[in-house]
């Protein structure tokens, strides 16, 4: 706790009141400091309180949220106790903020220039011409080409990455001391994410603005910040230099999280350990460690006493530093936790004969409106899938990978091209043939919230395909539902509950059970883990891999995260603008990429390995 700290947060508590009066403590006793020019990452999974903490700094909490206790000292001024007028003088002027989704964070009816002008006006820019000049300067600073001309453009004329740049320009307009960025790259593709992170790093160096980066992505932490604060269940569990925390985690949660992150460098067939269980429900949380239920090192005291943050001195190669950890078993041991067992290789049978074959698939969507240009989603896509094989398909948003999934699963028809199942042409099936095909090819969807009918129970949802394919009688079906629930790792008693009462990971298990119900031989998984937290993602990936091995399934695994795809796939196909630009064995594609686009994708993927000191900033370019 240096006296010169720019920002000091002490004992911050944030509470939300539900309509029925229940109190949720989303942030509990959070303390940390931020020095001038420092870069600090706040990392955690959904419900960890990281975004709420960021919003609480400027008292921008939504709904019923309020700072219940604690202080936020900015150069000694307590923002938690400041009135609205004082807060307005701080917001945008001393602390700038950037939010997650650049598509919604800009006002659709205001031009880029008007956005910047609003901030400059709010902080006393009286001269219109001067504001205009400054706006051009700011757009230039964040790397928008041709800034004078772009001032008059509305947000929908900019790409996602450019919009995020404009938001960063807005946050910097008042020359703040701190820039708080709440998941600034989560909604962006990996290559764009890389550019934005480079920009944030540059700006930090050039303007000396301290950076607080909220993220769930360990790769982003490693890539962008010197220090990291790990949050879980609304509390800080670990805080220290990035290099130290990421390589020698002391808190069991940090260690578990790091072990669950797929690494691009890990070869195909690696099994990752997820953290068992699901994140805690903050409204029923009592005293004790929030992580106790999921922790392998839990002792009695963990459940009764809320663990305090204890400062430890570390002696790393980079010099002496301090780490704060909230875990009595770990701190009393005064040495890093025993390292997690090295990731295990999975013993997988060799793929057999070709089951599914696609040749020259094309799909074009009609443009919207009278003059809307048609969108080519699939452009001459060919692939094969062998029995017992996992084919990974990787690509950024708009690459056509989801369309491919839907065409393969016969959810949408293709415009042209041939699909063969066991050598039989199924491209244009009759209704009867379609029925047979669907029994063999099933699909797991991306969004575990949207893909389950909210009005049906888990049992009804899983029994739906059994019913559709006329499998078994009533009692046999009930028995089969029970088997399937057990197969995907759920308790059979879950059958009577509706989707609303399950967590994201549990819902995805229900979706998998539904897909497995008619005993298919091919399973198309469209981004099955991208909506899930890392620790849960590892569980689901593990489940899919096990199911494949035990049931001899052929799997098409679609994702935007190259590391996950490499981990589960035998072979990888890289998609870009509706085409497959490269196919090969998973390890080969990741080690020796042939296509420039694959190389760009690989270079942009953030790996949770702390960088060596003073590394040259990487530049990545997407081939046009």
């Amino acid at each position: 706790m240096t006296a010169s700290a720019l920002l000091e947060v002490r004992g911050l508590d944030v509470e939300f009141t539900a309509p029925d009066g229940t109190l949720t403590r989303a942030v509990r006793d959070v303390s940390f400091t931020l020095d001038r020019g420092e870069t600090l990452a706040v990392v955690g999974e959904s419900g960890s309180g990281k975004s709420t903490t960021a919003l609480a700094l400027l008292r921008m909490l939504p709904g019923t949220g309020r700072v219940a206790r604690g202080s936020v000292l900015l150069d000694g001024q307590d923002l938690a106790a400041a009135d609205e007028a004082e807060l307005r003088r701080v917001r945008g002027a001393r602390i700038g903020m950037v939010f997650q989704d650049p598509m919604t964070a800009l006002n659709p009816v205001l031009t880029a220039g008007a956005h910047l002008d609003e901030v400059l006006r709010a902080h006393g820019g009286r001269d219109k011409a001067a504001r205009l000049a400054r706006a051009v300067e700011l757009l230039d600073l964040v790397g928008i080409p041709d800034p004078e001309r772009r001032l008059d453009d509305h947000p929908h004329r900019f790409s996602g990455g450019q919009r995020q740049r404009i938001l960063i320009a807005m946050a910097l307009a008042g020359e703040p001391d701190v820039l708080v960025a709440d998941e600034p790259t989560t909604a962006l593709d990996a290559t764009v994410q890389d550019q934005i992170l480079t920009l944030l790093g540059d700006l930090n160096r050039r303007t000396g603005t301290a950076l607080v980066l909220i993220t769930h992505n360990m790769g982003v932490v490693a890539r962008a910040c010197e220090r990291v604060l790990v949050m879980y269940g609304g509390t800080v569990v670990e805080d220290g230099p990035t290099a130290e925390v990421l390589t020698r985690p002391r808190h069991p949660y940090t260690a578990g999280l790091l072990a669950a992150v797929p690494r691009l460098s890990a070869p195909s067939g690696t099994r990752l350990a997820g953290i068992p269980g699901a994140p805690p429900d903050l409204s029923v949380l009592t005293d004790g460690c929030a992580f106790a239920d999921r922790c392998a090192f839990t002792e009695d005291r963990c459940r009764t006493v809320t663990p305090p943050l204890v400062t430890l001195t570390t002696r790393a190669a980079s010099g002496e530093g301090t780490v704060r950890v909230a875990c009595p078993p770990a701190t009393s041991r005064s040495a890093p936790l025993p390292a997690a067992p090295p990731p295990a290789r999975i013993d997988r049978p060799r793929p057999g004969a070709v089951v599914l074959e696609a040749v020259g698939l094309r799909k074009t969507y009609r443009g919207r409106g009278l003059r809307g240009r048609p969108l080519t989603a699939l452009d001459d896509v060919s692939l094969t899938l062998a029995a017992g094989e996992t084919l990974g398909i990787v690509g950024e948003s708009g690459s056509g990978k989801s369309t491919l999934a839907r065409v393969l699963a016969h959810a949408h028809p293709s415009d042209s091209g041939t699909l063969r199942l066991d050598g039989v042409d199924i491209s244009r099936p009759s209704r009867r043939e379609l029925h047979t095909v669907r029994r063999r090819i099933q699909m797991v969807f991306q969004d575990p919230y949207a893909s389950l009918n909210p009005r049906m129970t888990a049992g009804q949802i899983i029994a739906e395909p059994l019913h559709a394919f006329g499998i078994g009688d009533r009692s046999r079906r009930a028995q089969r539902v029970e088997e399937l629930l057990l197969l995907v790792g759920l308790d059979p008693s879950a059958a009577d509950r509706r989707p609303r009462s399950f967590s994201g990971g549990q819902r995805q298990r229900i979706g998998i059970a539904r897909a497995l119900a008619p005993e298919p031989s091919v399973l198309i998984c469209d981004e099955p883990v991208s909506a899930l937290d890392v620790s849960v993602q590892a569980q689901i990936v593990g489940l899919l891999t096990d199911l494949q091995r035990d049931l001899g399934l052929s799997l098409v695994f679609i994702a935007h995260d190259l590391a996950v795809v490499r981990q589960v796939s035998h072979r990888i196909a890289v998609m870009h603008r509706g085409r497959i630009v490269e196919t090969g064995s998973a390890d080969e594609v990741c080690e020796n990429p042939a296509d420039p686009y694959t190389r760009a994708l690989l270079a942009a993927a953030p790996d949770p390995v702390p960088p060596a000191r003073h590394r040259e900033p990487r530049s990545t370019q997407v081939p046009a």
């Binding site: 609205e84 945008g92 709010a122 902080h123 509305h154 929908h156 807005m170």
Partner: protein, 314 residues
């Protein structure tokens, strides 16, 4: 903008064409012969035949239709059958009265609707918001014939400050005209004002909850400016569309309000024309109303596009 207008024009003309067919056919479905009712109960068959001939009722229907449309296009609406006088004059008089009533109501709709919407969404005091909510629910639910009776009871019977019915043109005698206009216009406006207010309130609340307002808040923009410069422009386009639709509803509702307040407008004329089988008057009148409705939609569409840059550049 011009291109947009050109693109919308064909479908608008099509609606008018179909509407003219429908109007023409419906009137021919009405039982009873206008010539018979015009000639009176005592007239002999030759009198009726003469009237039929004079009015062109013996012509085949398609020809009658062509004559009608041809007359409309050349500006010759012809004489009325039964009411007496030229159709154009009758409609002209009624139109003046109805337009006056509708515009008066529209003014109330905009003023009250905006007040309901902005206060309902942003008033700090809970009781203000609650009052607005109760007023909106009431104004929306209670039909004009009930509010009409209540308004007359209050202002004409109890307070005796405003007349209970009739009309003096605002153009010829502004101060007196306004007194006659106030009650019917308010009565006509209330439901539409309530709908507009509710839409605006929802729109503002939704816009204020948007990410871009959070962005502006984080940048230190003053709450008043957040409302007027950031939230309101986003809440407006759907409200403008709604206002266009409500203008149509006002025209329709005017028929009822005219009956309650003895306001000599198009509604009264339509009622007369229908009961007395006066084809020309009713035809022209209905087509006029549909035309106004279509025009309002067209204007609404253009204003909507002008307000929303995403559509403007499409």
């Amino acid at each position: 903008m011009g291109i947009r207008l050109l693109r919308r024009l064909p479908s608008a003309l099509l609606v008018l064409l179909v509407a003219s067919f429908v109007i023409f056919s419906i009137l021919r479905l009405v039982p009873g012969d206008p010539a018979t009712s015009l000639a009176g109960p005592d007239a002999g068959p030759e009198t009726v035949a003469a009237i039929r001939d004079r009015l062109g009722l013996d012509e085949p229907l398609p020809l009658q239709y062509v004559h009608w449309i041809g007359g409309l296009l050349t500006g010759d609406l012809g004489p009325s059958y039964a009411i007496g006088g030229q159709t154009a004059d009758l409609i002209g008089d009624g139109l003046g009265a109805t337009v006056e009533l509708t515009l008066g109501a529209l003014l109330f709709v905009v003023v009250l609707g905006t007040a309901f919407g902005v206060l309902g969404a942003t008033a700090r005091r809970g009781w203000v918001r609650a009052t607005v909510r109760v007023l909106t629910t009431g104004a929306l639910a209670v039909p004009p014939f009930v509010t009409g009776v209540l308004l007359v009871l209050l202002f004409a019977v109890v307070l005796k400050v405003l007349p209970s019915g009739g009309r003096v043109s605002v153009l010829t005698a502004p101060d007196l005209g306004v007194q006659y206009l106030l009650l019917p216009a308010l009565c006509l406006a209330l439901p539409s004002a309530a709908i507009l207010g509710r839409y605006l309130k929802d729109g503002i609340e939704r816009a204020l909850a948007e990410d871009y307002v959070r962005t502006a808040t984080a940048a230190g923009v003053h709450p008043r400016r957040l409302l007027w410069r950031h939230a309101l422009p986003n809440a407006l386009p759907p409200v403008v569309t709604l206002l266009g639709m409500q203008t149509g509803h006002l025209l329709g509702g005017a028929v009822l309000v005219e009956a309650i307040f003895a306001w000599p407008g198009l509604g009264q004329l339509a009622e007369q024309g229908l009961t007395r089988r006066d084809y020309p008057v009713v035809q022209d009148l209905l087509l006029l109303l549909v035309t106004v409705f279509v025009l309002v939609q067209l204007i609404t569409d253009l204003v909507h596009a002008w307000l929303d840059p995403r559509i403007r550049w499409e």
